[in-house]
């Protein structure tokens, strides 16, 4: 977390690997150090140099009524004398009639289109009899040079660097694309009415993250280098030292731009203010206008969410998997088997805005917004986020970072194969697969972790590890849809793809010396079974252990023999209830909270571990708190829509948390009032 959340970005190291300098690298030349001047007539020399370096130049050009980024061949392709006028929902080109080429602000495209392309092949999955294989697609990143990149776009690149490269799991395809692109920035000498980089602290002056930066004057460009590569380019350009007048006019132009923008979005305390308005009626008002069309997220240079699609042949034996742009405004984004966690447009809009201006800070240390104004211009109904941003306040608890074993296949395209050893039906729709030939990383996984399970032609799914054996792991799966049904249909010697072990675990060490209460329902017993194994393996280190397990009917109970075995031990209290039964069941019928809400044991001595449908967990948490357990002693595990399991597709976000990476096990204290909140 940075001290000033407005500080825009940590500039990515240049291709040579050295850190970007905040001040330009001087070139030792006859002119000495300092910025240079390139005459307008010599701009094409720069383009030629880039072509000679075998680079495609992605620069500004006019197309379809806008200034977009596209491959350009020469200075003729640049938008000479063209500028733009932007306002909410409107974009118009204007003809200035002069010779300047950078007198516009930003168009609908950004460098993100090349560093995080809309469609990227991930892998090819194949099935041959029982064996499966996943071949990650490795793409050659094209050699590019971005020309005309603005300060806000540089900040956006830095922000995506942090998302894709700054965490425990990285996207190497992104890294390769960043590495092979040269960045020639341009300081803005004009601003649109929709720009607000001054508020977000990202511009208008480029302060780092570039190889070269140009400031346009009537007669040419003031040039500075930001990296040795940039300096090397300058050394081959017909430049001379910039004189004082030119430097002054450059600085003055930038200063004027900053002044025009003012400070439309005061950001002091914005994170807290915004999150405090989570239940504001204003969200519903915005939703009356919002079309949930996702245009704002697509033009946004920092939005990074994606989905994984499969295209298979008719037998499902060969399947190409691709990563495509997909954003939180689409219907399927937050869907799981039981429904969608964010079905209403107002919840989706709130998710987007609070992510951009609040929870992004918790996740990555900066705002997610760079103030480029694209979302304002390209919203078909002209919603202006500056106007919509609300004002108020409280900080959320910081998230703890436990150390975890390094998971395998933890990149978006890869899976490691494992082989099913045996299968056991638990109930009519639940099966436990015992999987062997697994990477040792799985065997040293922790209680509560999960794996992403993949089979070609089906979407990969998060499945809890329900037992850690000596050389096998168990996966207990419920048939909730075609993908789970297909996995359940597999048998001994069939192979599957795995990624993991992933996620946070039940903090069993904290329970030592305390009473333990486990409350679970239905298939929720699966992720808790390893915890029970662990508790029983060192029974003497824990005081009373109480298991309360509810199921729909007696036939829907999981692990029935084990339940009998645990009860028969005599040193753990096992109580079962069902929602409904016939007369052959003589045990309790009702909800699992009734098993303990009138009990007399001392809650202040207990830690609780809870898993089940979210509504059941809410009722359970209420009952546990009424029994005297504090929020930092109640642990739940959340289920959300996951496409990658490693915090890169963006789907599983809940407030500031990535359920796959910060969870799925959380204490109530960590969740705060996110738990049980609608549409979050």
């Amino acid at each position: 977390m940075v001290a000033d959340e407005r500080m825009p970005y940590a500039p990515y190291p240049s291709p040579s690997g050295t850190a970007v300098a905040a001040t330009p690298v001087p070139v030792t030349s006859a002119n000495g150090s300092g910025p240079w001047f390139l005459a307008r007539a010599n701009l094409d020399v720069l383009l030629d140099l880039l072509h000679e370096d075998d680079r495609k130049i992605i620069g500004p050009t006019v197309a379809d009524g806008a200034i977009v980024y596209a491959e350009i061949r020469s200075v003729e392709d640049l938008p000479t004398g063209i500028g733009d006028e932007q306002s909410p929902g409107h974009y118009d080109l204007v003809d200035h009639g002069d010779r300047r080429v950078f007198d516009y602000t930003v168009g609908p495209l950004s460098p993100k289109r090349w560093t995080f392309p809309p469609v990227v092949p991930l892998n090819v999955g194949r099935r041959d009899g029982k064996a499966v294989s996943f071949e990650p697609s490795v793409l050659e990143a094209p050699r590019l040079a971005f020309l005309g990149v603005r300060a806000c776009e540089l900040a956006a690149l830095g922000i995506q660097d942090r998302v894709f490269l700054g965490g425990p799991y990285t996207d190497e395809d992104y890294r390769n694309r960043r590495r092979s692109a040269l960045v020639i920035a341009v300081n803005c000498t004009t601003a649109s009415s929709t720009c607000f980089c001054t508020s977000m602290g990202t511009g208008p002056e480029a302060r780092g993250g570039y190889d070269l930066v140009l400031t346009e004057l009537d007669e040419g460009f003031v040039v500075r280098a930001g990296t040795p590569e940039g300096a090397d380019l300058v050394a081959h350009l017909p430049v001379r030292g910039a004189d004082a007048g030119q430097m002054f006019r450059a600085a003055e132009a930038i200063g004027k731009v900053a002044a025009t923008m003012g400070d439309p979005v005061p950001t002091a305390g914005l994170h807290d203010r915004l999150l405090a308005q989570f239940d504001s009626p204003r969200w519903a008002k915005i939703a009356e206008r919002c079309l949930s069309c996702a245009n704002c997220t697509m033009v946004c240079p920092t939005c990074f969410c994606s989905s994984v699609t499969q295209r298979s042949d008719l037998d499902g034996d060969v399947s190409t998997s691709e990563r495509v742009w997909d954003f939180c405004f689409t219907a399927g984004f937050a869907k799981v088997a039981g429904g969608s966690f964010r079905s209403r447009p107002r919840d989706r809009y709130r998710q987007w805005l609070t992510h951009k201006f609040a929870t992004w800070v918790d996740q990555f240390g900066t705002f997610g917004c760079v103030g480029c104004g694209r979302c304002i211009t390209w919203c078909p109904v002209g919603i202006d986020i500056r106007a919509e941003l609300l004002q108020i306040a409280p900080p959320l608890a910081a998230r703890p970072e436990p150390a975890r074993p390094r998971p395998i296949a933890s990149t978006p395209g890869s899976f490691a194969t494992a082989r099913i050893v045996s299968v056991r039906p638990e109930t009519a729709d639940v099966m436990t697969l015992t999987v062997g030939d697994v990477d040792p990383a799985f065997l040293s996984g922790e209680f509560g972790q999960f794996a992403m399970v993949a089979v070609p032609a089906f979407p990969p799914l998060p499945i809890s590890i329900s037992r850690f054996g000596r050389d096998t792991i168990d996966l207990t799966i419920r048939a909730a849809g075609p993908a789970t049904a297909s996995i359940i249909g597999l048998g001994p010697r069939d192979e599957i793809g795995l990624r993991g072990p992933l996620g946070s675990s039940w903090p069993i060490e904290r329970a030592m010396g305390h009473d333990v209460v486990i409350v679970t329902g239905g298939i929720g017993l699966a992720p808790l079974r390893p915890l029970i194994d662990g508790l029983l393996a060192q029974r003497e280190r824990f005081d009373a252990i109480r298991l309360y397990y509810g199921a729909r009917t007696p036939n829907d109970q999981l692990y029935r023999e084990e339940l009998r075995g645990w009860a028969a031990r005599g040193d753990i209290d096992v109580q079962l209830t069902v929602d409904r039964a016939h007369d052959d069941w003589t045990g309790p019928v009702g909800v699992v909270t009734h098993l303990f809400d009138r009990a007399t044991w001392d809650g202040s001595r207990s830690l609780a571990f809870v898993c089940g449908p979210e509504r059941m967990m809410e009722a359970t948490v209420d009952a546990l708190e009424a029994r005297g357990l504090a929020p930092d002693r109640i642990f739940v595990t959340l289920e959300r829509h996951m496409e990658c399991g490693i915090g890169l597709c963006g789907h599983c976000q809940t407030g500031r948390l990535f359920v796959c990476r910060d969870g799925p096990v959380f204490s109530l204290a960590q969740l705060g009032d996110i738990f049980g909140r609608e549409g979050i």
Binding site: A480, D556, G587, V589, M616
Partner: protein
């Protein structure tokens, strides 16, 4: 797992009432007045204690054992929708009009009850307003707890999803 009641000595109404959840916190006078019309009764498993739709004769507190509340679903037969455990009340309809059981309650273990005859209890509560003011809130609380449970059961949160026949997603 509950305790078999036949191994317990017959309980005395006053102490049984005071020790129960229902009676905890009642004033000694209230306990005395209620215990005065109460009787301890032991029943065998299979005994029908409340009948759905019929007048409920007694308001009881379960001291030991388990009572299953059941209702008839024509295609499925008798289905148990809730069990009443030791400490909970049975037959609250005896003091709430129209005094008819809302489900059938059958002992599925040997059960010991503290029974208060419905008619006499109603007369007592009508005349002693202070007692009524202690009794009815407890009854409400017990019924409310059952209502929350029923709602959660209604949500059928553990339901096996019939995803193969859901709208627009046929397979």
């Amino acid at each position: 797992m509950s305790v078999s009641s036949l191994s317990l000595p017959p309980a005395d109404p006053v102490s049984a009432l005071s020790a129960s959840w229902f009676g905890a916190g009642l004033s000694p006078e209230a306990v005395a007045r209620l215990a005065g019309i109460a009787e301890v009764r032991d029943v065998e498993p299979g005994t029908e204690l409340v009948s759905e739709g019929q007048i409920t004769e007694a308001f009881s507190i379960v001291l030991a054992g388990r009572v299953a509340l059941r209702t008839l679903v024509p295609e499925r037969g008798m289905v148990t929708i809730l069990t009443v455990e030791a400490g909970d009340i049975l037959g609250w309809s005896a003091i709430v009009p129209p005094h008819r059981g809302t489900s059938t309650g059958i002992a599925i273990e040997p059960v010991q009850l503290l029974e208060l005859p419905g008619e006499r209890l109603r007369v007592l509560l009508r005349s002693d307003h202070a007692l009524a003011a202690s009794v009815y809130p407890r009854v409400l609380q017990a019924v409310s707890r059952r209502l929350s449970a029923t709602r959660l059961q209604l949500l059928d949160l553990f339901a096996r999803e019939e995803w193969s026949r859901r709208e627009g997603q046929p397979w």
